[in-house]
């Protein structure tokens, strides 16, 4: 926020940064090599829906776009729309575990549709799910406004496996732009698709 923004008491909605998302497929390979976590093939985009019909139209446009893909071979399952207890909407896209590229393309389609319609500031995060042989769950969360990634590993109850999260950061921290401010690694309990 600049000086003038303080004087005028205004905050411009923050536009999302989308490009870094495409670093995910190669980082997933690095993650598997270093820690044994493999992609489950599902990923989700989380955004705050705007009231009114305009946004509802855009949202159904996104769903239609992704479902059109799912009818083709290798297009994955139909997209799943859920609303979490905070009122945020999650679009879950499910693919085979080796289709990381198509998954990221799907997620990016959601982003760009929202951005093209002027709803870019409503994007919160994107989450790609991983799992290891001991069935431990791990999500790589991409923060749109920061353009950074952080790991989220839910343990039993409302606890996080901080050791695993830091291990992941150590393993692929150089491949992806990781969030350096640990206070911004906010938890996404019960995130759909994780």
């Amino acid at each position: 926020m600049g000086f003038l923004d303080t004087i005028f008491g205004r905050t411009k909605p923050v536009q999302p940064k989308l490009d870094d998302l495409f670093g995910l497929p190669s980082a997933a390979i690095g993650l598997q090599a270093a820690t044994g976590f493999t992609p489950t093939g599902s990923g989700s985009v989380c955004f705050r829906a705007v009231e009114g019909k305009t946004f509802a139209d855009v949202q159904s446009e996104v769903s239609d776009l992704l479902n059109m893909d799912s009818e083709r071979p290798g297009g994955g399952l139909p997209v799943e729309v859920t609303r979490d207890s905070y009122g945020y909407t999650w679009l879950v896209s499910s693919h085979m575990s080796d289709e990381m590229d198509t998954l990221v393309t799907d997620l990016h389609a959601v982003n760009s549709t929202l951005v093209d319609n002027g709803f870019g500031p409503q994007l919160l995060c994107t989450l790609v799910a991983f799992r290891d042989s001991q069935e431990r769950r791990l999500g790589l969360v991409y923060l749109y406004k920061r353009g950074t990634f952080y790991p989220f590993a839910p343990a039993s109850g409302q606890r996080r496996d901080n050791a695993l999260e830091l291990q992941v950061k150590g393993a692929i921290g150089a491949d992806l732009k990781f969030e350096q401010d640990l206070e911004r690694w906010f938890p996404v309990w019960g995130a759909p698709g994780l």
Binding site: F8, R10, T11, K12, Q15, T54, Y86, G118, P121
Partner: protein, 322 residues
């Protein structure tokens, strides 16, 4: 090219700038008047002015620096961890991630009065506080709107802006009091020491008192006006951040409705914090129209809802190209 629905509210910006300009002008007029009085009567009344400036700036600095602690203490609030209040923290986490801002500390005040405030000298030291009454009365969407409103106060640095804006009023108020007391008690002694200057000294004190009183009154009204504009700006940013102007409207209606039923004793306790509350604890705007509005720290409910209606329409439009 990205489209954006965001359009700055130029009218509000212009009005806010004008108010701040007038405050600056009042400040200049004040200094000029003081210099004028002193040089016309060829007496140095510098001592009390110096003391008033030191006290005024000192107390403003103190209240700014310790604003978070003072406010929490006054409200009887307690900071809560994410484990104690997971839903509240979750809402704040998400809002901060959406707005790309640092997360403030979160506190809960055990009062039934539905309200919220944010305070702190900078974003690192801010505290966001909600009362239990607010959490009980509002649903999550409405609570989110209120929290986004308070986060906007933090982002706009309203505590700082309002403190700087009120320094002049504090100094003028102090001078007025000092001049009054020295007239009562100090006049004779000073005059004796200074020989024939007794008459002049008395005149000076009266003049300083009158000027300070006028400056105090004018800057008080301007500060209240500025405060109302900052509230509208925070409402606006909140609605744009959450995309739910209607949830904020409904929160405003709920909070204002139950504010009226609150006993007076609570209201008096809440007075010092009033400027940073979500809705004013002293409900000035409802009974008497025009004059009460001038003194209010918050715009009327109708005005706030009207402004949110505009944003609602804006969000429903086809976005223009950026």
């Amino acid at each position: 090219m990205a489209r954006t629905r965001y359009a700055p509210d130029r009218g509000l910006s212009v009005r806010m700038t004008l108010t701040m300009f007038l405050l600056g002008l009042v400040f200049v007029a004040f200094v000029a008047a003081l210099i004028g009085i002193l040089s016309a009567l060829r007496v140095s009344g510098g001592a009390i002015i110096f003391v008033a400036v030191i006290f005024g700036v000192g107390s403003a600095w103190f209240s700014l620096f310790y604003s978070d602690k003072i406010a929490l203490r006054t409200a009887g609030a307690r900071e809560v961890s994410p484990q104690e209040a997971p839903q509240l923290h979750g809402i704040v986490d998400r809002l901060c991630a959406m707005a790309d801002m640092q997360k403030p500390r979160v506190a809960i005040a055990p009062t039934d009065m539905p309200n919220a405030f944010a305070t702190g000298r900078n974003s690192k030291n801010s505290v966001l506080c909600v009362t239990e009454g607010l959490m009980r009365r509002l649903d999550d969407n409405e609570l989110e709107g209120v929290l986004a409103h308070e986060l906007s106060h933090v982002a706009h640095r309203d505590v700082q802006v309002m403190t700087y804006a009120s320094v002049l009023a504090i100094i003028a108020g102090l001078l007025m009091r000092f001049a009054f007391y020295s007239e009562l008690f100090g006049g004779g002694g000073r005059g004796g020491r200074r020989g024939g200057n007794n008459q002049n000294f008395f005149l000076i004190l009266v003049a300083i008192m009158v000027v300070s009183a006028v400056i105090y009154a004018v800057s008080f009204l301007l500060i209240r006006l500025l405060s109302r504009y900052r509230e509208l700006a925070a409402d606006r940013s909140s609605a744009l951040l959450t995309g739910q102007p209607s949830a904020l409207k409904s929160a405003l209606v709920k909070v204002s409705g139950s504010m009226a039923r609150i006993p007076t004793r609570d209201l008096r306790d809440a007075e010092p914090l009033n400027a940073f509350f979500f809705a004013p604890a002293l409900n000035l705007s409802s009974p008497g129209g025009g004059l009460a509005k001038l003194f209010s720290t918050h715009p009327s409910l109708e005005r706030r809802i009207e402004e949110l209606d505009k944003i609602q329409r804006q969000l429903g439009q086809i976005a223009p190209l950026n």
